[in-house]
Symmetry: C2
Subunit: 353 residues, 2 copies
C-alpha cells in the first residue's frame, strides 16, 4: 500500500482539478491511499472522493498563492496545504507528495522540512519531454538552480539516472550533457569540467554517459537523460512549450479558414487527434524534485484534472519503485568521485572556477 | 549600388547551392553586385552566373571544411574562400559578406581581419525565429559566447536594436532579457545585473527595454529582440529546431499511415502547405555577426539555394540600410552607461561577480 499526500488547494485551478484527479487516480490504483490536504469546508464539496474509504482529509487552513514570494510561503503561512502535505511525508504518513503550487515555495518548503540527501548540494527539478522515438526524454534541472557548478551537474546526472531507472526499470539509462556542440572542447568552463566528471563516472561504471548532446537531441531521443543548468533547462522547456503552442494554434486557425479547409479537417481528423494526443503536454505532467529526503512531485500550475492525475501516477510509481533508495544508493556510490578519489589528472589540471 | 562578397565554397553543399542562389538574388536585386569568391575551376561550371555583368570571380585556392578547427582555418588556410571573401569587406570592395562555412572559423577570421567596433567586447550572432504574430523575433547571442557578463548582454541588446532598426525601419524595437521568470528578482547574478543596466538604458532613452521574458516569449512575439547568453540561445534555437522537425515528421508519418489518412492529406493540403511555408526555417536563414567593423552574415551550413538566397537578401538589406553605422552610433551613445556614468546606485550595490 502506497500513500500519497495531495496538496488539494495548490495550482491555478485548485480543488476543481485536484479532487476529480484524485477520484480517477483511486479508480486506477486499487493499492493506493490518499491524504487530501486542504480546507475541509472546501474539500467537503467533493463528497464522493472525500468519503472514499482510501482517502483521509488532513486539514490545513491556509493556501500558498501562485505569486506568493518564497518568504511569505515559508514564514507567514505555516499552516498552508503545501506545507502540511510535505509534512505528511516527513512524518512517514505518506510516501510521496504532489502539489501544483508555486515551484519556488514547494522547493523551499521541501528543503526546509525534508532536508537534502547526503552528497546532494542542491535538489533539481526533473521532467519528461516527448521525443521522436515515441518515448520521452528526462531533462534536469528545469529551473531550481540558475548558477550550477560542474559538481551540481554531476549530481543531477546521478539523480536523473536513478529516476529513470525507478520509473522504467532500465538500470543503466544513457545520460547526455547539454552543450553547444558535441565535441569535448566545446562549451563553458563549467560544462567542460562536468564532462570530465561524467566521463570519469562512466569509466568506473557509475553512469552510462553518452557524451555531449545539443538542444535538438532532447527531441531526437538521443539519450534518456539530458543534464543541464536550471537556467538553460527552463528556457529550453518554455521555448519548446511556446513553439508547440504556436504550431497548435496555427494548425487550428488554418483548418478553420475556409469551408474547404474545414472539410479537410474532417478528413484529417484521425491525424489531428493523434497529433493532439502526442503533443499533449498534460501527459508529461509531474516533475520530480530530486535530492530531498522524501519524494516531492510538482504538477504544472495550470494542470486540469487529467494532467494532475498523471502527476499522481508518477508520484505513485516513484514511491512504488523505491526511487528514494535508488537515489540514495547511487549518490552514495558515486559521491567519492566528487571527493577527488579516482579523479583523473585531467580534471586537476583545470583551473578552479 | 551594393556589393556583396560571397564565399561560394562554404557549407555542406557548396557551389551547387551558393551559385544558383546568387543567380536568383541578382534577378531580384537589380542594384546589387556580387563578388564570387572560390576556386575558378569549380565556379566556371556555373557559367551563367559567373558571366553575369554584375558578378566578378575573386579566386581563392583553399576551402575551410565544416569540421576544420579554428586554428587550421586561421593559420593553415590563408587563401581560403572564407578569408578572401571577408578580406573584400575589409578592403572596401564589398559592403557585406555571406558564408555558409563553419561558424567558429567565420567568427574568428572575421574578428581577426575586421576587428571589433569600439565599445564592443565580443561580437554576437543574431538570427530570426518565427513568432505567433506572423512576424519574427530576433534572438542573440546564438552561440558565439558561452560565458557572458552583464555588460556583454547589454551590448547585445544595443546591437540587436540596431539590427532590427536597420532591417525593419522601426527605430525603437522592444528588447526583452531572457530569464527564468518575469520578476526582476529572478535569475542568475549576471542576469540581474544585466537587467539593471538595461533598465538604466531605458531610462536614458538608449533602449526600448520591455523587461524580463521567458522562453515561450520568443514564439509569442512578446518583444522584437530577445537577448541571452550564447549557450542559452544556442540550446533554445536547437531545441526548437528539434521540436519542429519532430512535429513535421510526425505529421508526415501520420498522414501516410492508411488510405483514409492519405485521402485526408489531400483535403488538408492547403493547410499542410501553409504550415510547411510558415515553419520553413530556410526563410529565416542568414544570421548577422554583429559587433565587427564590417557586415558578416552566416548562412546555415546545410542551406540549399533558396535558403542561401535569403541570407544574401538579408546581407544586402543590412548594407543598404546602413546597419554598420547604426550599430556604431548606438554603441557610441550607450557606451557611457557601461563606463559608470549615470549608473544607478542600485547597480553599484551589487557585488562584483
Amino acid at each position: 500500500m502506497i500513500t500519497v499526500a495531495v496538496d488539494c488547494m495548490g495550482g491555478d485551478v485548485g480543488p476543481a482539478a485536484t479532487l476529480p484527479a484524485c477520484a480517477a487516480f483511486l479508480n486506477s490504483h486499487p493499492q493506493a491511499k490518499l491524504l487530501l490536504v486542504g480546507r475541509p469546508d472546501v474539500l467537503g464539496a467533493y463528497s464522493e472522493v472525500v468519503n472514499n474509504v482510501r482517502c483521509r482529509v488532513v486539514p490545513a487552513t491556509e493556501v500558498v498563492a501562485m505569486d506568493d514570494p518564497v518568504e511569505v510561503a515559508m514564514r507567514k503561512k505555516k499552516d498552508s496545504s503545501m506545507r502540511v502535505a510535505i509534512q505528511q511525508v516527513k512524518d512517514g504518513a505518506a510516501q510521496a507528495v504532489v502539489s501544483a503550487g508555486n515551484t519556488g515555495a514547494l522547493m523551499a518548503i521541501g528543503r526546509y522540512l525534508l532536508k537534502t540527501l547526503d552528497g546532494i548540494d542542491r535538489p533539481a527539478i526533473a521532467s519528461q519531454m516527448p521525443n521522436a522515438l515515441g518515448g520521452s526524454t528526462t531533462v534536469l534541472d528545469l529551473g531550481a538552480n540558475v548558477d550550477c557548478s560542474a559538481e551540481h551537474l554531476f549530481q543531477f546526472a546521478v539523480m536523473g539516472s536513478a529516476l529513470v531507472a525507478a520509473l522504467t526499470g532500465r538500470e543503466e539509462p544513457t545520460v547526455g550533457l547539454l552543450n553547444v556542440g558535441e565535441e569535448v572542447i566545446k562549451g563553458s568552463e563549467v560544462i567542460k569540467k562536468a564532462g570530465i566528471l561524467l566521463r570519469n563516472a562512466a569509466n568506473t561504471g557509475d553512469l552510462n554517459f553518452f557524451g555531449n548532446v545539443e538542444g535538438n537531441d532532447i527531441f531526437k531521443g538521443t539519450v534518456e537523460i539530458v543534464v543541464c543548468d536550471g537556467f538553460v533547462g527552463n528556457v529550453a522547456l518554455k521555448a519548446s512549450e511556446g513553439l508547440a503552442t504556436m504550431i497548435g494554434n496555427f494548425i487550428k486557425v488554418e483548418f478553420s479558414r475556409t469551408i474547404f479547409t474545414k472539410i479537410g479537417a474532417i478528413f484529417a481528423y484521425p491525424v489531428l487527434s493523434a497529433f493532439k494526443r502526442r503533443m499533449d503536454y498534460r501527459r508529461y505532467n509531474g516533475a520530480a524534485l530530486l535530492g530531498l529526503r522524501g519524494l516531492v512531485f510538482k504538477s504544472h500550475g495550470s494542470a486540469d484534472a487529467f494532467a494532475f492525475e498523471q502527476a499522481l501516477c508518477r508520484a505513485y510509481d516513484a514511491a512504488h519503485n523505491g526511487l528514494l533508495d535508488k537515489v540514495r544508493q547511487r549518490i552514495a556510490h558515486a559521491a567519492p568521485l566528487l571527493a577527488g578519489e579516482g579523479l583523473s589528472s585531467e580534471l586537476k589540471s583545470i583551473p578552479t572556477l
